[in-house]
């Protein structure tokens, strides 16, 4: 009983390191493939997929998050007569944490899943083998454009999310909590600095890379037909989200010391 339990732990630790090593190998291979000029057309196609896929859901998520955050802060802060800080607090928490993390999570669910589903289907139907047979490196052909596209598109989405989130806050602050709209804007002006935004944007570059690499890794290693595709896809979303949360903590420590 005890031994069986230990065995289980041992096995999952082993498989963690195995996967970790394999992902590192994939990153290395991807970097090696960068020596061939990447296909601009593929990158643009991927970017438009990415943007179009996630824009509506990012908008919804962030708009409502901005609204509730403002609702709660305004409620408490007005009690202490600190309504002039609400705009700043909302905008800064959006820019530093909420926008990058939520956009990352949403993109992992939307884009990461799509990447894994597509590539794992190609894997189990031998299309990856067909690429190899035609002397085309699957990493160069599939991973590189997706990686670059994610690393460009996610920051763009985050900047957009910053605006939407702060706007959501503005709506609640002015129409519900009774904060003067000038006060709200002034507050953002007073408290926020450029680094609040750039820090979040830098984070999102990493998150984009994680979504693409994990998505491709899970896809390229899918097995066992349709079942394998489903398994790879959930695996991709879950592990990207976990890594995004953990990495976010470290990045915050480094970026906002």
């Amino acid at each position: 009983m005890m031994v069986g339990y230990l065995e289980k732990i041992g096995r999952s630790v082993l498989s963690f390191f195995e996967n970790f090593g394999a992902v590192m190998m994939l990153i290395y291979e991807t970097i090696c493939q960068l020596k061939h000029p990447p296909n601009i057309k593929h990158i643009i196609v991927q970017m438009s997929h990415l943007g179009v896929d996630s824009l509506p859901i990012v908008t919804l998520t962030i708009l409502f998050t901005g609204m509730v955050i403002t609702l709660q802060t305004a409620h408490e802060f007005i009690k202490y007569g600190a309504q002039s800080t609400v705009g700043g607090i909302v905008a800064i928490s959006m820019a530093r944490e909420l926008a990058p993390v939520l956009t990352g999570v949403v993109a992992a669910g939307r884009v990461g899943a799509a990447i894994t589903a597509e590539i794992s289907t190609m894997k189990v139907t031998e299309q990856i083998d067909a690429l190899k047979v035609m002397a085309t490196n699957p990493v160069g052909y599939l991973v590189v454009p997706r990686l670059i596209a994610c690393m460009i598109t996610l920051p763009l989405l985050v900047v957009f999310a910053d605006v939407i989130g702060t706007f959501g806050g503005y709506l609640v602050a002015t129409f519900y909590s009774g904060i003067n709209s000038v006060t709200y804007m002034q507050s953002i002006n007073n408290f926020m600095v450029v680094h609040d935004v750039t820090g979040g944007v830098i984070k999102s570059v990493f998150f984009g890379a994680i979504i693409a690499i994990i998505g491709c890794y899970q896809g390229l290693n899918a097995r066992n037909g349709a079942v394998g595709v489903g398994k790879a896809t959930t695996g991709s979303v879950v592990s990207s989200i976990i890594i995004i949360f953990i990495l976010n903590c470290f990045l915050s420590l480094i970026l906002y010391r």
Binding site: E126, D129, K132
Partner: protein
């Protein structure tokens, strides 16, 4: 052109191929026959470096490929084409883009030249006018023929066919058979054809190799195989006929 020396292949400790020694000569058509699950597809995948043997050497056009890096393998693969058993068409691309894939990736031909070649290859497999269709709008046999068109679009020296005529009607089968032979006669293409159709094997092959229980039971020209004294080979050739008689009785 292709030579396998003492090749062993295991999947998870299960021996699929045992001590295979086989040579495919330049310009010949070699047919590979054998029961389902006997390792024919595995053999083809070894020849093009999609699988690495557990032990042994695989020579293609004078290079030992079993331990090459992927980028070195790609140079060899530029001379090779493969028709997959389940077609393996890129389902996000149109038929035309599938056939044009190798040309777009590896040549500097203009779009109009590529288009001309695509038309030409589609005509060879009797599917002109299908270039704008998507693979999932085609029947299984049509996909197979597109896969063939894609494999030969780059005009490779070596083509590996994994059951090119599975799922095709007799007329189309004959047509594909004559295409394989004409590629050999006109362009000097070396071909390895895995097939279940004994008729096809006899019609197109210079030599036939039979795989049984992971080993090459017999290899020889059509006459050798037809007159084989090996009961396994005879059973395989006559099996289908015997079965049909049983059923019709």
């Amino acid at each position: 052109m292709i030579k396998l020396v003492n090749v062993h292949m295991e999947f998870k400790k299960e021996k699929i191929l045992k001590n295979i020694n086989l040579e495919v000569k330049k310009g010949e058509v070699l047919a590979i026959i054998g029961a389902s699950g006997s390792g024919k597809s595995t053999l083809l995948r070894l020849m093009i470096g999609l699988l690495r043997p557990t032990s042994g050497q695989i020579w293609v056009a004078g290079t030992e490929i079993s331990k090459l890096r992927e980028d070195q393998l790609d140079k060899i693969r530029l001379q090779m084409g493969m028709v997959f058993q389940y077609s393996a068409l890129f389902d996000s691309m149109s038929v035309g883009d599938n056939v044009a894939f190798g040309l777009r990736e590896h040549t500097k031909l203009s779009e109009s030249e590529i288009n001309k070649k695509v038309q030409e290859k589609l005509k060879l497999v009797d599917l002109e006018g299908y270039e704008h269709r998507l693979p999932n709008e085609l029947s299984g046999g049509m996909k197979k023929r597109i896969s063939l068109a894609r494999a030969i679009a780059f005009e490779p020296d070596i083509v590996l066919y994994d059951e090119p005529s599975a799922g095709l009607d007799p007329i189309m089968t004959a047509k594909i058979d004559s295409l394989i032979v004409s590629l050999q006669k006109v362009l000097g293409v070396t071909s390895v054809v895995v097939t279940h159709h004994m008729e096809s094997a006899f019609a197109i092959a210079d030599r036939i190799a039979m795989i049984h229980e992971g080993e090459i039971t017999q290899i020889g020209n059509v006459e050798d195989i037809k007159n084989s004294s090996n009961p396994v080979v005879q059973d395989f050739i006559n099996g289908s006929k015997g079965m049909t008689k049983e059923v019709h009785r």
